[in-house]
Symmetry: C2
Subunit: 384 residues, 2 copies
């Protein structure tokens, strides 16, 4: 989607990816085959590029920083920001220090630490791997004291791939927020050239409601059901988060709307995010166009919403990993104002994000009906 | 733009192009280097493809038909339609026979033919090369009897590259329509699977006003200034034109609104057309998405207009052919709801189409102001 947005702006994309025939291949100038920690691949990429950016937090910030310095190629967002974000404990501490409201959290280096922390925070709580979590992998709910040992073993196992030798630095635990709903704001940090008083240009996309199941994003709706005051507060928190971020680009900022309508930061992604995919049809400039504009130092685009828009993720519904063949997509094509986005992944497995559907409403159309419709379209699709 | 629209639908594009590093390279899976009449190139393409289509009338219909038969690869639109369209005389005859209103025209095989025809049609008139004309190349206005010999020599020269040996079959002449304005309708022919009563699914995009100078399209506006009755009539003529076309795809149908508001067909292009570029932002599905849907046998998308939209072409403003470096584009990026589309052509020459700007208005915003704004944005750009 980034490459699709880059082309009209006259920006060519070369991608480095650990898979040999990556999903971006059909829409990029060239592909470099290399892992996220592969010096030669990143160096090769940097030598060909005017700007470097990344779309996954597994990227190695040290490597990016080294290659950027060696080749004098700017990298955005700044590797330091990636370093803060990739460790959820460091991320939370940094944001809390900056005055961003976050759920209560504790560092836990052992099952005993966890037990002690939860005596304080209370049950249930969410135990998280500090690094590498994604789509619910690396998050384990802890319901009661009886779960503590098993939960800690599970998170260490997930984080260290089976080795339990030194669990220190692996995990954190967070109070389970009894949220009213989840919200997301895509924040944009642009160039100082286009901002005021030498500050980076800043903007946010309209607040989006995100709906998760099994900790995986399923649907979004924008505008959300939240009232205007809540949305405004969410936007303010997002702008406070942007103050902590360094480097140009789009940031996916996930929030909780708590029981008293307070806004708490959940997580940040230093890149275009699934909760902003609806902006492709729903806003004047998409989050992807915005990221390209920001990274390449162009002025930011218009983040205004064109129409109420919902999206639904197309997830793998198979038990075994296999070649991906989607059926039922003609129903999506037949529906006016429905848009299929296929990600080009060759293989499907259970709950893998394979694409999404966006559905655009008429002006002021309530998003409930749109949401019901897009779910129905999505539920008719299958890989089986 | 076709490749950009194809990717989200899960359709990969391989392009055959006479240039070694074609504009489509950054957004296509692969490129085959070959001329429009290069059997090996087209055959190679067909062997890799599920569907063949073309985006330029210089494609050879005989070659397409042969390769399609050899490889059992469907080609859309049908080569027979290309054969009709690529010869402007055959095109006009066929449409006139089908009852489509066209300007008066005559076949002219010599200067004497031309003189005789214009005794009948009157001056001024437009002398046209039957094949290969593009962006005003191959069109010569004939103002008075004194121009006849020179105009005919010029058209023969243009059509035959300097050889005047046998001018028969080269030219036609058409009355000069004293039009109120020029209009265009993008027509869509889909699959029988999705149409009614076994007929191909059919639709049109909203009528667009096209503004030419030196016979090159400069700007479009949609909705046009034309009143609703005229627009409806334009749509009817477009649907009549589609009845003559064979094969799935998008057809650019250029029309005149004559002095008494009658609609006359000007020309047809069997492909997405410059007068429909505004649909990328202006409509729910773009002409490019629509072409991909049609060619691949999917249901057609929603052709409804999302908002008043204008476009302005970015043309080469240099005297000598040179490497293309655009300046002034940041002004476009700064303008809310303005969209730059850069075509990725490496070289610029005078009046070459290098890109376009689309500008989207608020609901019911008059297109006059939008048109003035997009012209100003465009006029600030330069390659000098």
């Amino acid at each position: 989607m980034l490459a699709e947005a880059a082309a009209p702006l006259g920006v060519e994309v070369v991608v480095s990816d650990p898979t040999a025939d990556p999903p971006a291949a059909p829409v990029t100038r060239d592909q470099i085959h290399g892992g996220f920690d592969d010096y030669d691949a990143v160096r090769d990429l940097a030598e060909r590029a005017d700007y470097l950016t990344f779309e996954i937090e597994l990227t190695d910030p040290d490597l990016l920083e080294r290659v950027a310095a060696e080749t004098d190629t700017p990298v955005h967002p700044h590797p330091e920001t990636l370093r803060i974000i990739e460790d959820k404990l460091v991320q939370k501490r940094r944001l809390a220090d900056a005055g961003v409201p976050v759920p209560e959290f504790r560092e836990v280096d052992s099952a005993d630490d966890l037990r002690a922390a939860l005596d304080d925070l209370g049950y249930p709580a969410m135990l998280k791997a500090r690094k590498g979590g994604y789509d619910g992998r690396g998050n384990v709910p802890v319901e009661s004291p009886d779960d503590v040992d098993e939960a800690f073993a599970e998170i260490v196992d997930a984080a260290q791939g089976g080795s339990h030798e030194d669990p220190a630095g692996v995990a954190m635990v967070e109070e389970m927020v009894d949220f009213e709903r989840e919200l997301a704001v895509m924040g944009c940090l642009g160039s100082e050239q286009w901002g005021e008083d030498g500050e980076p240009e800043r903007d946010t996309f309209p607040v989006t409601e995100t709906i998760h199941r099994e900790e995986i994003l399923r649907e979004t709706r924008s505008p959300p059901e939240a009232d205007v005051g809540v949305r405004e507060r969410a936007r303010e928190v997002a702008l406070d988060v942007l103050d902590v971020m360094e480097g140009r680009g789009v940031y996916g900022i996930e929030l909780f709307q708590g029981p008293d309508d307070e806004i708490l930061l959940n997580e940040i992604a230093p890149r275009p995010h699934n909760s902003g995919h609806w902006t492709i049809e729903g806003c004047h400039s998409s989050q992807f166009e915005q990221h390209v504009r920001a990274v390449t130092g162009r002025p930011l685009g218009d983040t205004g919403r064109r129409a109420p828009t919902v999206s639904a993720n197309i997830l793998g519904d198979v038990d075994e990993r296999r070649d991906a063949t989607l059926s039922g997509e003609d129903t999506v094509f037949e529906r006016p104002r429905a848009h299929l986005h296929w990600y080009g992944k060759r293989e499907v497995y259970r709950l893998r994000k394979m694409g999404h559907i966006a559905l655009v409403g008429a002006e002021s159309e309530p998003t409930d009906r749109l949401l019901a419709d897009v779910r129905e379209l999505r539920d008719d699709l299958t890989f089986r």
